[in-house]
């Protein structure tokens, strides 16, 4: 029997591979209604997944740019001398998270205030004599997570009268991002499951439609895997076709959105549309094939008794 087992394990021939390919495509065509439903579902699932991925990627990009702008403003007591001021500055610089520090004198602060007033800057005229605005340090931190810690440290320093940072707003933004991430994950799982379910149903129909053929194949001496492969191919193709459709939809849809945003909303630029082709296309094709293969395997385990 050793000869027999050797033959059973021979590598798949190219001709056989072609046969599987042809069989699976012809099954998809014969089974066109269910095939269409499966492809559409996978395409819809991946399309929604794509929208969420683009959303998250863009929000992440936005957060990174916001993070850049995160600064701590430490106001100095009016009685702080230049010497003391230098001392405080070097002390702040010693904090590892601090990226940069800029001094803003009382005069600078007033100038800024006047600029903000714009046409009404006359209102500030009286302030020149007795400037009520404090001098301050504007400090940038490497990471958002370090803002709280750093501002607490600075607040305890001598000569500092008050510390302000944008933590509240950031916390809100981060919470929104986390919510988007969690809900998109849930949606992806649900749609992925629906895709797998529909593909496994499609494959089940094919298995039933080919019951007779499978029986004959067994009598003639087809190996189990020779019988299974065309069904696996079929599932994988369904998944792949769905992925390709979703990628095309995303590409055209997103390119359009990018164009609109670029012309109408100047302050914020989106991730370029090439991202879809360069990154998502491959990821989605693989996800589609995996979904299809899984759906197929589930069906084969349950309905193909060899």
């Amino acid at each position: 029997m050793s000869e027999i087992s050797k033959e059973v394990f021979t590598v798949m021939k190219i001709k056989t591979f072609k046969y599987f390919f042809k069989e699976s495509i012809s099954n998809i065509i014969k089974n066109r209604v269910m095939s269409f439903a499966s492809i559409t579902t996978v395409a819809a699932a991946l399309f929604v997944l794509g929208i969420f991925m683009l959303l998250v990627a863009n929000v992440n990009k936005m957060v990174t740019s916001v993070e850049d702008k995160v600064e701590i403003k430490a106001f100095l007591n009016d009685d702080v001398t230049t010497l003391k001021q230098n001392e405080i500055e070097s002390e702040i610089k010693k904090i590892p998270a601090v990226k940069s520090i800029v001094f803003e004198s009382k005069e600078d602060a007033l100038e800024k205030f006047k600029n903000q007033l714009g046409e009404n800057k006359d209102l500030a005229n009286g302030l020149d004599l007795k400037n009520p605005l404090p001098a301050s340090f504007i400090i940038k931190v490497d990471k958002v997570e370090n803002v709280a810690d750093t501002s607490n440290k600075i607040a305890k320093m001598e000569g500092i009268y008050k510390v302000k940072d944008g933590r509240d707003i950031l916390d809100k933004v981060i919470r929104v991002i986390n919510f988007i991430k969690a809900s998109s994950l849930a949606l992806i799982v649900i749609l992925g499951a629906v895709g797998i379910f529909l593909i496994s149903n499609t494959i089940r129909l094919t298995v039933y439609a080919r019951k007779k053929e499978i029986g004959i194949m067994k009598y003639i001496g087809a190996t189990d895997w020779f019988i299974r492969w065309p069904f696996l191919f079929e599932g994988m193709f369904l998944g792949l076709f769905g992925a390709i459709i979703s990628i095309l939809l995303l590409k055209f849809g997103y390119s359009y959105v990018v164009k609109v945003v670029a012309t109408d909303v100047v302050i914020f630029s989106l991730i370029p549309a090439e991202y879809i082709i360069n990154t998502l296309a491959w990821q989605f094709s693989i996800v589609g094939i995996v979904i299809g293969g899984l759906g197929s395997l589930i069906s084969l385990r349950r309905f193909l008794v060899l």
Binding site: M1, I4, S5, E7, V8, T10, K13, K15, T16, Y19, K212, E213, G215, I216, M217, K218, Y219, I220, G221, A222, T223, D224, F226
Partner: protein
């Protein structure tokens, strides 16, 4: 070639389909397995194909203990047989040519071998001119010839036929029998289950008669033997 020793088969519903069957079939034999419907003929064939396993006893084919075959070895084991059924079991969406070629695709034969062998089989069964027709365009006898060609495509040493003439009129059946005789003369062992009395009587081959799962007669150059 085939040796059944004390083989019994009891189905799950406690129905005894075969009881203590011992029989030997030699290379080159032409054997009729006869008996009324429900006698156990198909059970005998299914055991041989390892579609089912015996409740007790031993089946040896070509010096291999069929019960000891692993799952992976079964396909290779089955490739040493050709099988023909009463209901032809052709693939309706494939042409005559494709139906025969299918058997060879499954064993991963080369395209060249397939082409050569299928044409050879078509002329053997006399259907060269109907190669591109579909099963539903053929008569019963022609369909059974296609099934026969498919069974022989991979050059099996043993041809198993389960009531191959059961759906055919006597004249057509006889055509098939002549074909089987030729195949046997060229060296292929044939085991044919049937309850067609006239066919068996005319052929004068070895007859193994089963009744209610028991071998009641095993006779060289025998006849059907029932006076009904």
């Amino acid at each position: 070639m085939i040796k059944f020793s004390n083989v019994s088969k009891v189905y799950k519903n406690n129905h005894i389909a075969l009881s203590n069957v011992s029989v030997t079939i030699n290379r080159g034999d032409f054997v009729f397995l006869v008996g009324p419907s429900g006698a156990g003929k198909s059970t005998f064939i299914k055991l041989l194909l390892r579609e089912i396993e015996p409740t007790s006893g031993e089946i040896i084919v070509n010096n291999v203990d069929v019960q000891k075959l692993t799952r992976k070895q079964i396909p290779m084991y089955r490739r040493s047989f050709g099988i023909v059924f009463q209901d032809f079991r052709l693939l309706s969406d494939k042409t005559v040519y494709e139906n025969i070629a299918f058997a060879m695709q499954i064993v991963e034969a080369s395209s060249r071998d397939i082409k050569k062998r299928v044409n050879q089989m078509l002329s053997l069964v006399g259907l060269s001119n109907k190669a591109n027709m579909y099963p539903h365009q053929l008569s019963g006898g022609e369909q059974q010839r296609v099934a026969l060609a498919r069974a022989l495509a991979n050059n099996p040493k043993l041809l198993i036929c389960d009531e191959p003439t059961g759906n055919l009129d006597p004249e057509t059946a006889w055509g098939i029998m002549e074909l089987l005789n030729d195949i046997n003369l060229s060296g292929t062992t044939i085991l044919m289950a049937t309850h067609a009395k006239d066919v068996v009587d005319k052929m004068k081959k070895r007859v193994i008669a089963i009744e209610k799962g028991v071998i009641v007669r095993d006779q060289q150059r025998g006849v059907y033997g029932y006076e009904d």
